[in-house]
């Protein structure tokens, strides 16, 4: 090749190599940017479009708004599909240009002037050198050959069906006895959900300003409507905001925040649900079996933690679509964690998860419109029953396998009060009209059979009833507290409080306590006649249900967790980890 043409080839190939290299860098950057944008994410998750749709619902005749929606819709589609086209064509262009780049770079390198290689001077190349070079070439070729054969062999090997997952080794769990469950407060409104504790020391009064009766008071970092639960000296609570779902453990004796565990879900984050402020993102109360704590949040994340705060498993049972936000608390029976998810007639369901692994054991569809009531597990004639309520059915299931035991219809309205079991009957507060008692030992459809008793006096709309088996307490949202005989439904007394209530009444020994939404607590005697023992203010709002304990009362306010006792010095704690 002549020197001039050699120069032209050299410079030409170098220019092509540089140009194609620059193209590769730019196109690679553009494709990476496209990838980071999330392909069609902008199209399917446009917040602007959702906002405009909301506006259109408020101004249905606004033609200009309709035009804006159509324009934005078209723009989003064009953008997304243009990005997809760029990605599609760009990838192919990059492959072609990469070939061009390699070829031109190789050519440019070949044209480069080289200093003479001493081994090319025939007489100086030793025969030994040639032999080694040949051996090396053969060895490399043989390695490639083996690798190629192995690759072909592996690719031809059929994919095997994955073997069934080995059962997760779970430490043997000892189910707590009924006595242990009764001694502690392991779930929403206690062991059996009746809101009753036989031995308790509910203080008649306290004073937040002076500290009288406040044993300790600790700030809770995140908000939540959930109530505390207690197991020995551990108090558990949940809180959440748009970013985090958190489970807290407090020391029941000192109020110190022992740990706070933020749940970690693998995979991309599920968008948070829309909830009402009155429900919030942490309305369901957690449950414990004495070895683990189980919690559920509004975005349907269900998790188990051990008592040291370590997350053992997590699942998402959502997404949930509940107009107020999910509120039903969890229930547990032996190794079954029971989750009631009433979201709408087509999607309402009851799910049992293995408490040790989170694996689903059974699931049944529920013919329920939607509900916010919590399920309870009770023992009737020696057999367990899982009682659930929602419009229009109360249904009893076997918690072991989800089979239905009995059902009765006639429930209506937005169903929030949870059922209780008192005096051999299931007591149901039907916001649609009455309070009724259904014998719990039936089977099949009990709808045609009359209820054991019914009353339309003081029907709760949000609060759940409480009973110690001798008296039944009902609290309406506008402050009417009624005391009934759970056996006959006869009203023993009624009293009107000028206050609003979401929190449920609880009975602790000889006292009954109710707490209003403004944080005013009223303590009454648990007796056949009304007698108010005290009235105290918490100093902050309150929607959670109190926990009566042997020595004190635990109560969650809007900002703090309180331990209230008859008389004790104040100890205010700041949250610490």
């Amino acid at each position: 090749m002549k020197p001039l043409s050699q120069t032209i080839w050299k410079q030409g190939s170098l220019a092509v190599a540089i140009a194609s290299g620059v193209f590769l860098v730019l196109m690679g950057g553009l494709l990476l940017f496209n990838q980071a944008q999330g392909k069609v994410a902008g199209l399917v998750q446009s917040t602007e479009l959702v906002r405009l749709h909301e506006q259109l619902r408020q101004r249905p005749q606004d033609e200009a708004l309709k035009q804006r929606i159509r324009k934005l819709d078209l723009q989003l589609r064009q953008n997304s599909f243009t990005e997809l086209r760029i990605s599609h064509n760009g990838t192919r262009a990059m492959i072609a240009v990469t070939v061009l780049f390699l070829a031109s770079a190789h050519l440019a390198r070949k044209q480069r002037q080289k200093l003479p290689d001493p081994l090319t001077w025939g007489p100086r190349r030793p025969a030994e050198e040639n032999r080694i070079r040949l051996k090396t070439q053969y060895a490399v070729a043989a390695m490639f050959g083996v690798a190629a054969v192995a690759a072909v062999g592996i690719s031809l090997h059929a994919v095997r069906l994955p073997s069934p997952p080995a059962p997760v080794q779970v430490a043997a769990i000892r189910f707590p006895t009924a006595a242990e469950m009764r001694e502690n407060w392991p779930a929403f409104r206690g062991f059996d959900g009746s809101g009753h504790r036989e031995v308790s020391a509910i203080p008649a009064t306290w004073n937040v300003a002076s500290g009288q009766g406040i044993r300790w008071k600790t700030e809770v970092p995140l908000p939540g409507m959930s109530s505390p639960i207690r197991w020995t000296n551990a108090l558990f609570l949940t809180g959440a905001n748009a970013q985090s779902n958190v489970v807290y453990r407090f020391d029941a004796d000192s109020g110190k925040l022992v740990w706070a565990t933020t749940l970690r879900m693998t995979g991309s984050k599920m968008p948070g649900p829309k909830v009402m402020e009155d429900t919030g993102l942490a309305a369901p109360t957690p449950v414990t079996d004495g070895q683990r704590i189980y919690a559920i949040f509004a975005n349907a994340e269900v998790a188990a933690l051990d008592f040291s705060g370590k997350q053992l498993w997590i699942r998402n049972l959502g997404p949930l679509d509940n107009p107020y936000g999910h509120a039903a608390s969890l229930a547990i029976y032996q190794d079954r964690l029971l989750v009631q998810l009433d979201q709408g007639e087509a999607t309402s369901k009851l799910v049992a998860l293995n408490a040790g692994t989170g694996q689903e054991l059974w699931r049944v569809a529920r013919p329920i419109v939607g509900s916010w009531a919590s399920p309870i597990v009770v023992e009737v004639e020696g057999k367990p029953q899982l009682i659930t309520c929602g419009e229009p059915w109360v249904i009893s299931y076997n918690p072991l396998d989800g089979s239905e035991l009995w059902r009765a219809n006639g429930l209506g309205g937005e169903f929030a009060p949870s059922p209780i079991y008192a005096g051999g009957k299931i007591i149901i507060c039907n916001p649609g009209g009455d309070v009724r008692a259904i014998p719990a030992n039936g089977s099949g459809d009990l709808s045609p059979k009359p209820a054991a008793w019914k009353t339309d006096a003081g029907v709760p709309d949000v609060s759940s009833p409480a009973s110690d088996g001798r008296r039944l307490y009902l609290l309406t949202g506008d402050g009417q507290l009624s005391c009934l005989d759970p056996g006959s439904g006869q009203v023993k007394w009624k009293h009107e409080f000028k206050d609003d209530f979401y929190s449920s009444p609880v009975i602790g020994g000889s006292r009954v306590i109710i707490v209003s939404r403004k944080g005013v607590a009223y303590v009454m005697e648990n007796a056949d006649a009304f007698r108010e023992l005290g009235k105290s203010e918490l100093g902050e709002d309150c929607n959670a249900t109190p926990v009566p304990d042997r020595q004190c009362l635990y109560l969650r306010g809007g900002k703090h967790l309180f331990c209230l006792a008859e008389s004790a010095p104040v100890a205010v704690k700041s949250p610490e980890k």
């Binding site: 999330g38 392909k39 069609v40 994410a41 199209l43 399917v44 998750q45 446009s46 479009l49 405009l52 749709h53 259109l56 619902r57 249905p60 309709k66 929606i69 159509r70 819709d73 078209l74 989003l76 589609r77 997304s80 997809l84 990605s87 599609h88 090997h157 059929a158 994919v159 095997r160 069906l161 994955p162 879900m265 693998t266 995979g267 991309s268 599920m270 349907a300 699942r315 998402n316 049972l317 959502g318 997404p319 679509d321 979201q343 709408g344 087509a346 999607t347 569809a365």
Partner: protein, 182 residues
Amino acid sequence: MNRRNFLSGSLRGSLMLALGGVLGAVTGRARARNTVWQIDPFQCTQCGRCATECVLELSAVKCVHSFDMCGYCQLCTGYFEPDPNKLNTAAENQLCPTGALVRSFVEDPYYEYTINEPLCVGCAKCVKGCTMFGNGSLHLQIRHDRCVNCNECSIARACPADAIHRVPADRPYQFKSRERKT
């Protein structure tokens, strides 16, 4: 051949045949089966991640329609926005962000809904609407003309409901039907 040789030869032959049969049966049973990824529509919670988590430029997941379950509704909750402005095909009334669900008149008051597959991105908005308020006839499936059958499916990793599993390649789809509704 005497009788002893005949019996011994027959016995040996029978044993060889039996051994061959057993080996053949074991080999046949032990043959590995090909598998592919698929969504169980009854476990799917319509979270929308199928549209964004697939490694492909446009997801391998698309909506399919079980016509035997469809109610052919005039107000299809898989097609229309909740509380639509009007029951027409204007963009402000459609739930599908790409217009992939096509509504065509059958006879009063019935409408047929078909899927324009090239436009479907697998976002599950229509599936959610149909499942929550309708018959649940719209559901998602991984399309095997698109799926590259990754060793580890990136959508399965992100699926909050654990609804994506490997299934035998000779039964690659899990359709909803009137017979199997739950």
